[in-house]
């Protein structure tokens, strides 16, 4: 084992008492080990030094008043709070959007309508339906049997010839930059978790 590995094991408290005593004895007698040990300790001490920072105490006197303000405005707005399902719908649409192939600006307004429709459908779903909708392909049924929209958008969405650069092509669209980005600012931790897991599952991230 290299000197560095043994030293790091010692510093990480990964040794038994006996190994520790042996290491400490070796440290006294082995100049090469001792030299390497001192180098590592010097680096770690430097980090400690970098951690000694004087902060602005005025800042900390502003935190509690700001939190208090939020507590008050939160209780005032409690009645107006939207049902969680609304945000969940946006989350679902976001995941949906990220799975789509590229949509160009010419199809944007129709695409926007389709998205609005799909959002409405998602709002009526429970979590299980939501997974069926995407994972078991029910969204394709919707796409092909819907008579509300022309085939152009759907053709683009599901065209096998389309280069599937999931998500990236949509990112510049006004839709993302308006609705979704606004929602993302106020998204809850639970929703972030859902999006994150879905994106990971679908190997988008």
């Amino acid at each position: 084992m290299k000197n560095k590995d043994i030293i790091l094991k010692y510093l990480s408290d990964m040794m038994s008492d006996e190994e520790k005593s042996q290491f400490e004895m070796r440290l006294e007698n082995d100049s090469s080990l001792n030299e390497d040990y001192q180098k590592i300790i010097t680096k770690l001490n430097l980090l400690n030094e970098q951690n000694q920072i004087e902060d602005d105490s005025n800042y900390f006197s502003t935190v509690i008043p700001r939190v208090r303000q939020k507590v008050e405005s939160k209780s005032e707005n409690k009645v107006l709070k939207l049902a969680p399902v609304v945000s969940f719908g946006i989350v679902a649409v976001l995941i949906f959007l990220l799975q789509l192939p590229k949509i160009n600006q010419n199809n944007f307004s129709e695409f926007n309508n389709v998205s609005a429709d799909i959002t409405n459908i998602i709002l009526d779903m429970d979590f299980e339906d939501f997974h069926d909708f995407f994972d078991n392909g029910y969204i394709y049924d919707y796409a092909y049997y819907s008579d509300k929209h022309s085939g152009t958008v759907f053709d683009l969405m599901f065209d096998e010839e389309t280069d599937y650069e999931f998500g990236y092509e949509l990112i510049d669209s006004d839709f993302i930059n308006s609705e979704i980005s606004l929602e993302l600012k106020d998204i809850s931790d639970e929703e972030i978790g859902i999006i994150y897991e879905e994106l990971l599952n679908k190997k988008i991230l």
């Binding site: 790091l8 590592i40 951690n51 900390f60 700001r66 507590v71 990112i171």
Partner: protein, 183 residues
């Protein structure tokens, strides 16, 4: 390091009995620790400020569920850790969607609670190393190296085995020393 549990418990009880000033005292005791943990995890002032406020808000809302079985210190660190990690996820997601607002990024570099040039330089160097560590390693390293927690305390906060935490710390140390060689 843990703050005095008796004082903590007394303040929580007072707050639960309706004494709002007790919350201010609790927040005052912990806000710096919360801020600096978030700051080292996230690497900038604005995000750390946001997380600090979020954690205090959660404290305010959820203190009624505190069961007095573990230390308040552990309870607050659990919230701080979760919030910081969620904030990182959110930031990565925004980055992925290119939703990062350039104006906010500009503000990030201007607004800070560190004023002295020497301190700014030190923090920047520290940050450069920390932000290159994988998130799990970064967190264990910060908690143990800078906040002086024992593996047992970190295990309590992270709900992980001491062995796994030791391995994380070992790898973090290895990476940190390599990164410092690069400088």
């Amino acid at each position: 390091m843990p703050v005095n549990s008796d004082i903590d418990f007394a303040l929580v009880k007072k707050f639960l009995e309706g004494d709002e000033t007790a919350f201010n005292k609790l927040a005052g005791l912990y806000q710096k620790k919360i801020y600096w943990h978030a700051r080292k995890m996230l690497g900038n002032h604005l995000d750390a400020d946001e997380v600090t406020q979020e954690v205090l808000l959660v404290m305010y809302d959820k203190l009624y569920s505190f069961n007095f079985q573990s230390s308040l210190f552990t309870w607050i660190y659990k919230i701080t850790s979760t919030r910081s990690l969620n904030y990182l996820k959110k930031r990565n997601l925004k980055k992925f969607l290119f939703l990062d607002d350039p104006n906010v990024m500009e503000m990030n570099s201007q607004e800070d609670i560190v004023q002295r040039t020497e301190d700014k330089e030190k923090l920047e160097k520290l940050n450069t190393v920390l932000q290159k560590l994988p998130v799990k390693q970064r967190e264990v390293f910060i908690l143990r190296k800078f906040e002086g927690l024992s593996y047992e305390e970190i295990a309590d906060i992270k709900n992980k085995s001491v062995g796994a935490l030791k391995a994380n710390y070992f790898h973090a140390l290895n990476k940190v020393t390599e990164l410092m060689d690069e400088k």
